[in-house]
């Protein structure tokens, strides 16, 4: 029973419990906070696996970015203190059953499958290695997907602006105002 093992189980507990609470809590703001804890827990796993860079990205993007975004949108669309409407119990039971069966199936497969785990896990990627590989244009380089993702982000940005923009005809017309 090393410290590492204890930390792992604690992280697992934090992640799973807050994940379950995030999808069951009827107070949406709390659900968002539970989601935040889940994401932090996952970042913790990355740290635990010594993938520091990914852990940092996880915290910056998810915890700092997406969760804040979600919380903002909750503020914009939700009255404070309002409980979420209850889902039909049948649906809940059905969803839980379906999910549990699927989960069991996947776990069964996974346990039966033998992964050949590499013994030596000491090497962890340095940030420099990640950066070089990311921008490499050689055969294994990720320059092209990187560019594609950047275009995707640009498209998403433009898309958000277009979606969020009010259609022009709903804007009050200046001439109309003057006439009035």
């Amino acid at each position: 029973m090393t410290g590492s093992t204890i930390i792992f189980y604690l992280l697992a507990l934090l992640t799973l419990v807050s994940a379950v609470l995030a999808v069951t809590s009827r107070q949406i703001f709390r659900a968002a906070i539970y989601l935040l804890f889940t994401l932090i827990g996952i970042a913790g796993f990355y740290f635990w696996m010594q993938y520091d860079f990914i852990a940092a990205v996880q915290i910056i993007v998810y915890v700092g970015g997406i969760t804040v975004l979600i919380i903002f949108s909750i503020f914009l669309t939700q009255q404070a203190g309002e409980l979420l409407p209850k889902q039909k119990i049948g649906r809940q039971v059905f969803a839980a059953a379906a999910v549990f069966c699927s989960f069991a199936l996947v776990m069964l497969q996974m346990i039966n499958h033998h992964f050949t785990v590499t013994a030596d896990q000491s090497t962890t990627p340095t940030i420099a290695a990640i950066g070089e590989k990311m921008l490499a244009t050689t055969e294994d380089g990720y320059a092209l997907p990187f560019e594609v993702v950047s275009i995707l982000l640009l498209a998403a940005m433009i898309g958000c602006i277009v979606i969020a923009m009010r259609p022009e005809d709903t804007l009050p017309n200046e001439q109309d105002l003057q006439q009035k």
């Binding site: 093992t5 994401l39 990355y46 990914i54 993007v61 785990v117 995707l152």
Partner: protein, 104 residues
Amino acid sequence: MITPGLYHILFISTALFFIGMYGFFARKNLITMLMSIELILNSVNLNFIAFNKYLWPGRLDGVFFTIFIIAIAAAEAAVAIAIIINLYRSHKSIDVEQTEEMKY
């Protein structure tokens, strides 16, 4: 207690995945559904990193997939929230049951 290894992490990621799935099925609010999707994406990321660490520690592909998924998830979240807010503007509600107008 057993020393945690690949199977433990895979169990956690699978559990996270299906918890997200359950949330996606059982929730009515679009924002909470979006949160469920984030859970699912995160479980996948965790999987990638775990495989990268335990099966091919010398390589970086799992890391890159994770990075790209995070980027795409960010974009997706941004677009989804833009849509949700727009929907709220027109319907005064973000209940998924209210968004069935285009069904036929």
